[in-house]
Amino acid sequence: MAIALIILLLIIGTVIFHVVSPWYFTPLASNWSTIDSTVSLTFWITGFVFVAVNLFLVYVLVRYRSRPGLKADYEPENKKLEGWLTLVTTIGIAAMLAPGLYVWGQFVKPPDDAMVVEAVGQQWHWSYRFPGEDGVLGKVDNRAISETNPFGLDPTDPASRDDVLIFSNELVLPVDRPVKLLLRSKDVLHNFTVPQFRVKMDMVPGISSYLWFTPTRTGEFDVMCQELCGIGHYAMRGRVVVKEQSDFDAWLARQVTFAQTQHHTEGDVALGQAQYMVCAACHGIQGEGNEGLHAPRLAGQDLWYLQRQLKNYQQGIRGTAEGDVFGGQMIAMANLVSDEQNMQHLLAYIGSLPEPARVAAEGDLRRGKQLYRNCVHCHGEQAEGSFHMNAPRLAGLEPWYLSRQIEYFRDRVRGGHRDDFYGAQMSLLVQSLRSEEDIADLVAYINSLQPEQLARRD
């Protein structure tokens, strides 16, 4: 009679597992308590059916197991019993469906006063857009996307100009105010999910989808992509920070509008050369780098990337982690160009430096090539880097620097800061490098690459 006993134990075990499981919904942070109630109701009904039907099965197994003299009944049909079972089942189903559809009815109709925000997905980052003072989001088209217009806004649409653009994986929202989140994608399918909000929806290129919720408590919540979007899917993370209205207003006021992003400050190479003299002490006259002073090569690197790193140093995002001694030294240096104009001059000068000769690296190129397959999608076939993928050029970087940064990412010396989203992503991605040998082979392969195109000069 083992089968009856085991099924009994499985029933009891399942119920106990359900009751004591510490793994259950995260604490709710939105208005969707109705979803949680529907789930609870469904658990009660299905739980009852699970226990009742299986207990009956156990009873039947015990009572009617074969033994001498037992003969089975002959009863082809029992219309009355079947009728009752149909009726009871239908009632149970309706009891779950009705509240479900009622709550769905609330979900499909966002409140009229909901604040409209747009979330944009791309491989493997998030960005966000607020409609600005006119309350209208400007028209967008993926084909208009460029380096100066990463959102693909239509510059001729008057509604575009005051749109507030958030070039970050982090979205700030005010507490207790309904938000209608419009969703779109630049490339493949993505899905905007915040587990604590309960609601999710795919982001589909070519159309705009939506979801809505009201954040009900302040705090920070992980955004996860929950529709397979390629190799970096698991590293496509973001964050929603829910703040008091006044804090939110202050934050929003600090963000740039589309019109503001269209003004470019051109750097002056001669002025930049003067700025660079401080840098030259460590990074070398030609920006060729100096391993002895732990100063990486700058010549040949993407300027947008250098700018981001300088800002990271200035804002304490990089160089503040324990263990990042050399990064710490950069903070004071980076602050010398805290003025935007000076920074542009400096970058213009660095951009004018010729690409230095390569340093040799030891490693198994064939293995390295294999390992690079997980990097290629962002950093490019020739490690030339991609502005749109937020991935810097790797070709030409010195091997010692590359391997040190990979180790830093692995050990979270880099990428551990809460605002270093791209670094945090790298921390997740380098986990597929399991050994020192892996790193050496990968670095040797990257070092062997010679992209035709130069690093971006703008």
Binding site: V53, S66, G100, K200, V204, Q226, I231
Partner: protein, 587 residues
């Protein structure tokens, strides 16, 4: 009364050489075995892939041969192989082929040559699929749902060769399925022996029959979507491709709809669930009745439930797409149809248990697996009520709850039925019994092991663990305990995988040294157990076709001496101990 004469040429073209008997065979029984062995082989490949996947999930960053790229490839190939190339092929190509002619009293399929072609085409599709492991870039890692645009763009493993071979392989598989499927339907409709009315057919045949018709209607949707995606990739059409960027560059595509693909895919994909489930429902019904020595409870309702489920399953597909970005108002319709389908499904469960009720339950190996199926199917069916109820799908879609649910209902459950079926029909196919002790080890470890794999997954999904993630690190809401649970799931999963070796060993040893099986070891009523030769030979029935006198469930008929009356036994030939009771039972 005139009966339509059934063309009966018992002694035509008996194959003589080894090749014509076992390789280029047109005998449905040999083709069934060819189908089964191929499906089981490719299923084992998929089993190994799942173990590799679990290694990464349970013990992240330990195994250097698993990269994010290969992980997604394992996920994709595991899913596609299990659903299409194992379950569909084994249930219909394997059991369908073996059982249809034998159970309806035919000498073979009506188109034996087509039947043979169906197998060889299926084998070709498997070879093309497996070839994708050896092309540059490896197999596709787009997930078994193959959603564009991602499936054909850089950033996804195997976006060049892998996806093309997958689409080609699916196309070939569908050709194979169509050849086999038309054959099954025609055979069931045309070649039933005298007396085998539709409402006397065993439920196994009903399940296979309806599932095959569904397959013939559903697979074309997959075929066209595969062709369209192939053209998007190769010719540059834009069926599924809107204007998008790829790796920072604007592509030439414009105006296509990724959601269109999802509609086509799930118009196939949802019926596919039942294409697998209905034969399993049928088989388990017959096994339960036989081993409980009792007629199936509510036969007519069981038949109608199969038919109704088959029809309804064509109008529920978008419940896979509640959060796809399609018009959310569709949710009302699809949630309603989805929950309605739960009613006939629940009735089937009740009827299985009511079949055992007041029965005379023999706890044989097939029976154990069948009972295990009832348990896991109840669990999987109930968790489906969560996901089908549109609003509950919001938090749970694309999490491990979904993974747990479909593995319970469409992975573990049909596989338990397949095992029940193998233990049940092995004596008929080979003439030998499988070893009971080994079988019990196999059963207990599989049931308890697999349940402890898939039950906890539901709770990880409630927590919000997304599926298809290579690593979960760096997420604040996922506690350390969840990682520990994942490690435990992995241990259980590998245990279950290893235990399947016991089954394989059992098959191999029993083939050579198993106890010789009597012609009808379970006392079954259906025709396949009444063949003159055991195992049945070419032509199945010797000189004359059997004639059917009763339904398939005359077990423990009051007044009869034996507790079963085979379908081909007329009343006059039944040994009766109590004529009055026998007559009152409607005989």
């Amino acid at each position: 009364m005139t009966e339509t004469a059934i063309a009966d040429h018992a002694d035509e073209h008996h194959p003589s050489s080894f090749a014509s008997k076992y390789i280029w065979s047109q005998d449905h029984k040999v083709i069934a075995i060819q189908y089964s062995l191929t499906a089981i082989f490719v299923g084992l490949v998929a089993l190994v892939l799942s173990a590799l996947m679990r290694l990464q999930l349970g013990f992240p960053d330990h195994f250097s041969f698993i990269s994010p790229e290969s992980y997604l490839q394992f996920v994709t190939m595991h899913g596609m192989i299990m659903v299409v190339y194992l379950l569909t092929a084994l249930l219909l190509g394997g059991f369908g082929n073996y059982l249809i002619p034998l159970m309806i009293g035919a000498r073979d399929m009506v188109f034996p040559l087509l039947n043979m072609l169906s197998f060889w085409t299926y084998l070709l599709s498997v070879l093309v699929l497996l070839a994708s492991f050896f092309v540059p870039g490896g197999p596709t890692g787009a997930g078994w749902t193959l959603y564009p645009p991602q499936a054909i763009l850089p950033g996804t493993p195997g976006h060049d060769w892998g996806i093309l071979l997958m689409l080609i392989s699916l196309g070939i598989f569908i050709v194979a399925f169509t050849m086999g499927g038309l054959n099954y339907v025609c055979t069931i409709l045309q070649a039933r022996t005298k007396g085998m009315t539709l409402m006397r057919m065993p439920l196994t045949i009903w399940g296979i029959f309806v599932a095959t018709i569904m397959g013939l209607l559903a697979f074309p949707a997959l075929l066209v979507s595969a062709i369209m995606m192939f053209m998007d990739k190769v010719v540059g059409t834009s069926f599924f491709m809107p204007a998008i960027l790829s790796m920072g560059e604007v592509l030439d595509h414009t105006g296509g709809s990724p959601i269109l693909f999802q509609h086509l895919f799930w118009f196939f994909g949802h019926p596919e669930v039942y294409i697998v489930a209905l034969p399993a429902f049928g088989i388990v019904s017959d096994i339960l009745a036989t081993h409980a020595r009792k007629n199936i409870f509510g036969y007519r309702m069981m038949v109608w439930a199969i038919v109704v489920i088959g029809l309804l399953s064509f109008v529920v597909w978008a419940h896979h797409m509640y959060v796809s970005g399609m018009n959310p108002y569709f949710g009302f319709f699809f949630a309603t149809t989805t929950l309605i389908i739960a009613v006939p499904t629940a009735l089937k469960v009740y009827n299985w248990i009511l079949t055992l009720w007041r029965g005379n339950i023999q706890l044989t190996l097939p029976m154990l697996f069948a009972i295990g199926f009832i348990f896991t199917f109840i669990h999987g069916g109930l968790s489906g009520l969560f996901l089908g109820n549109v609003v509950i799908d919001l938090p749970l879609s694309d999490t491990y709850f979904v993974v747990g649910h479909f593995h319970m209902v469409m992975g573990l459950s049909p596989i338990l039925v397949l095992y029940a079926a193998i233990y049940h029909w092995f004596p008929k196919v080979t003439g030998r019994m499988l070893h009971t002790g080994l079988g019990k080890v196999h059963f207990w470890a599989t049931l308890i092991g697999a349940y402890s794999v898939f039950l906890p997954m539901h709770y990880l999904g409630m927590l919000g663990l997304p599926r298809r993630y290579f690593g979960m690190a760096g997420t604040e809401y996922i506690p350390e305990s969840a990682h520990l649970l994942n490690a435990n799931i992995t241990v259980a999963a590998i245990l279950v995988a290893v235990v399947q070796l016991v089954f394989i060993a059992n098959v191999i040893v029993s083939l050579r040294r198993g106890e010789k099986a009597p012609a009808n070891p379970w006392g079954a009523t259906t025709l396949e157990w009444q063949t003159p030769d055991n195992p049945p030979t070419h032509g199945n029935w010797g000189p004359a076709l059997p004639v059917v006198h009763r339904w398939a469930y005359d077990f423990s008929v009051p007044g009869a001496k034996d507790d079963f009356i085979p379908q081909n036994v007329p009343n006059s030939a039944v040994e009766v101990t109590d004529a009055k009771a026998f007559a009152e039972a409607g005989q």
